[in-house]
Each structure stands twice: as structure tokens, then as C-alpha cells.
């Protein structure tokens, strides 16, 4: 099972790779990735698949609260907190 630090690092790597322009040092766990358009609404589908793979569980999009994808912190709290 992955540690919290490994999960956060995987999320950071994915966001940097998907954005393609941002440098790793420009992204921390509080960076508002949707608000700052680092990740677009259209890329959230890929992010969901990535989180499902990382957390080994299925995500029901219809039951998600607004703001769960705001930052690495909110993603970690919503999908990994009870798993790690």
C-alpha cells in the first residue's frame, strides 16, 4: 500500500505531466488547480481515472461535492484519507 507522501507525489507528477507547461516547483498541495486552470474541466475525467487506479476504488461522479478537485489536499482528503 502506498504511503500518503507517495500518493501526493503521484498526484503532483500527474498534474505536472498533464498540464505540460507548469514546473514541479510551481505546484504545492494547496495550489488551486482548477481555479488557476492548471487542470481543465475536460481533463478531470482523466484525473478521475487516475485517482481510481491509485486508490483502487470506483468513483461515483454524481455523488461528488463541488470543490473535491480544488487542490492536491482536497483530492487527498476526499479519496485517500481513509485508505492510507
Amino acid at each position: 500500500m502506498r504511503t500518503e507522501a507517495e500518493i501526493r507525489e503521484s498526484l503532483r507528477d500527474w498534474i505536472v505531466k498533464t498540464n505540460g507547461k507548469i514546473q514541479p516547483e510551481q505546484l504545492n498541495d494547496e495550489t488551486p488547480i482548477i481555479e488557476q486552470r492548471i487542470i481543465s474541466s475536460l481533463q478531470v475525467m482523466d484525473l478521475i481515472f487516475f485517482i481510481e487506479n491509485l486508490s483502487n476504488r470506483s468513483i461515483e461522479v454524481e455523488s461528488l461535492k463541488v470543490g473535491v478537485f480544488s487542490s492536491i489536499n482536497t483530492i487527498y482528503d476526499a479519496f485517500f484519507q481513509s485508505n492510507s
Binding site: 474541466s41 475536460l42 478531470v44 481515472f49
Partner: protein, 286 residues
């Protein structure tokens, strides 16, 4: 009578003439052996990859079943917000002429979900869930209406190429062919309506948008086209077929040279229309 009103009248007449009862039209087999062709092999997301070439015929056919479930699911997932958006636009001030056709559009989209859902529930026991999310934002005047119909058009243009090919493919299980044919019969009309309303909305509204908004709209549509395609490479399908790393397979299939050429070829008509009407200013990266 304007060109648009004439088109709306013709489409309404055609919809009335081609009216289908979705509950009695199809003969649903009690059960289906899933080791048959449900998706044309050439349209399977892994087609053209080494992985696909290594699969046995039985494995390919099982994959073709789950790809059909995915194709029908992504249609349901696209049609749900479409029905919602069409209903919101019924009887809106200024929409008097289009409302007549919106009734048919809504009715036909609901029927499609009856066919698609009927297949997925009967033979797969599930629908692959929607993973898309929409975040609320502000729009300039006419931008939201334009984007709504432009997204519908892009989505339906891709789907229709698949429908036409599969409705003619005699290798497919009859019920899969019939669903593709029924869908295409309605979509052919929706595309005529969609192309015209998208062009008219762009002509009427985009000159008043800021240059920044116009560019954002173009960028968004290009990204939307790429995202619409991503749904054809569903990791859940690969998981159901027993593959170990579905996400890796998705990436491999999506990035393969064959898949890129396939997406370009299938999207060609739609992209050409959007470029020709200055709605897009460059070919999106697919």
C-alpha cells in the same frame, strides 16, 4: 421564410414520418453469447495495436462486446445532459421556431437511451458511469447556447460515423446492428439541425464577444473534441476484459499511431465543417 425555418419544418415532417415506438420495435434476444461481434473490429479501441494482434478471436469478440457496452453507455451519458439542455430551451423567448423541432429532438434522444440502456442492462447488467464533470462559470451573451449546440454536434458527428459503419456490418449481432441503425436514422436529422444552428449561433453572437472569449471558445471546442474521443478508450472496458493495467492500456491505445489516424479520419467531416465556417481556426490536436 428563412432557410433555418424551412429546415426546421422539413425535419419536423421527417421525424413524424419516421416515428418509432422504442418499446415494441426491437426484438430483444433473451440472452446473448458475448463471444460474437458487437462492435466492428476496425472500430475497437485496441485495433491496430500489438496487444490486439496477440489476442485470440474469442478475446477480441469479448472485447467487442464491452466496447459496445461502452459505446452505448457514453451515448447515454452524453444524452442525459443533452435532454436536460434541450428541455431548458423549449419555449424560451426567441426559440419559437426551434421549439417545434426541440420536441422531436428530445423525444428521439429519450428513445435512444431506451435502446442503449436496454442493451446494457439486459446483457451487461450495467452502464459504464460518466466520469465527466462540468464546473459552473460565467458566459458572454449567446456563448452558453452556442457551446451547448456545438458540443452536441461534435459528439453526434463522431457517434454517427460509428453508427453508419456498424449498421451496415453484417458480422455484428443483429440487435447491435439494429440499435446503430435506429440511432443513425434520427441522428442524420439532428446533424442537419445541429450544423445549421451552430453556424447561425456563431454568426449571430461571436462578433460581439471579446477576442479573448472567441479564442477561448475555439480552444475549448478543440479540447472538447479530444476529450470526447478519450471516452472511446475506457479503462473499465479493459478491466472487464481481464487486462492487468487498464490505465496503461488506455494510454497505449490512445497514443498509438493507428488510433491517431483513426480519430483524424472519423473527425474529418466535423472538423472540416467547423473550419469552413470559421468556428475553429486550426485543426485540433487529436
Amino acid at each position: 421564410m428563412t432557410e433555418f425555418i424551412k429546415t426546421v419544418k422539413k425535419l419536423c415532417d421527417a421525424s413524424v414520418k419516421d416515428y418509432v415506438n422504442p418499446y415494441s420495435y426491437l426484438d430483444w434476444p433473451e440472452a446473448l453469447d458475448i463471444e460474437q461481434w458487437f462492435t466492428s473490429p476496425e472500430l475497437i479501441s485496441l485495433f491496430g495495436t500489438e496487444l490486439y494482434d496477440r489476442m485470440t478471436e474469442a478475446e477480441k469478440k469479448r472485447l467487442s462486446f464491452y466496447e459496445a457496452v461502452n459505446f452505448f453507455s457514453l451515448n447515454i451519458n452524453g444524452e442525459k445532459p443533452l435532454v436536460q439542455g434541450l428541455a431548458e430551451r423549449l419555449y424560451r423567448r426567441g426559440n419559437e421556431e426551434t421549439t417545434r423541432y426541440l420536441h422531436h429532438f428530445l423525444d428521439e434522444e429519450n428513445k435512444h437511451m431506451v435502446y442503449f440502456g436496454g442493451f446494457c442492462r439486459r446483457y451487461a447488467g450495467k452502464i459504464y458511469p460518466d466520469k465527466k464533470m462540468v464546473f459552473p462559470r460565467d458566459f458572454e451573451q449567446g456563448e452558453q447556447d452556442f457551446l451547448f449546440f456545438a458540443k452536441v454536434l461534435i459528439f453526434e458527428e463522431i457517434v454517427d460515423v460509428y453508427n453508419v459503419a456498424m449498421s451496415r456490418d453484417e458480422r455484428l449481432v443483429p440487435v447491435a446492428r439494429q440499435i446503430n441503425l435506429l440511432h443513425h436514422r434520427d441522428e442524420a436529422r439532428h446533424l442537419v439541425f445541429g450544423r445549421q444552428i451552430v453556424r447561425d449561433l456563431f454568426i449571430n453572437h461571436s462578433p460581439r464577444w471579446s477576442d479573448e472569449t472567441r479564442q477561448q471558445v475555439r480552444n475549448y471546442l478543440g479540447s472538447y473534441l479530444a476529450a470526447a474521443w478519450k471516452e472511446y478508450y475506457n479503462p473499465d472496458v479493459y478491466r472487464d476484459c481481464g487486462f492487468q493495467d487498464p490505465l496503461e492500456i488506455q494510454e497505449m491505445a490512445y497514443q498509438s499511431a493507428h488510433a491517431r489516424a483513426h480519430r483524424k479520419r472519423i473527425s474529418n467531416g466535423c472538423i472540416h465543417y467547423l473550419l469552413e465556417n470559421n468556428i475553429l481556426d486550426q485543426e485540433p490536436a487529436l
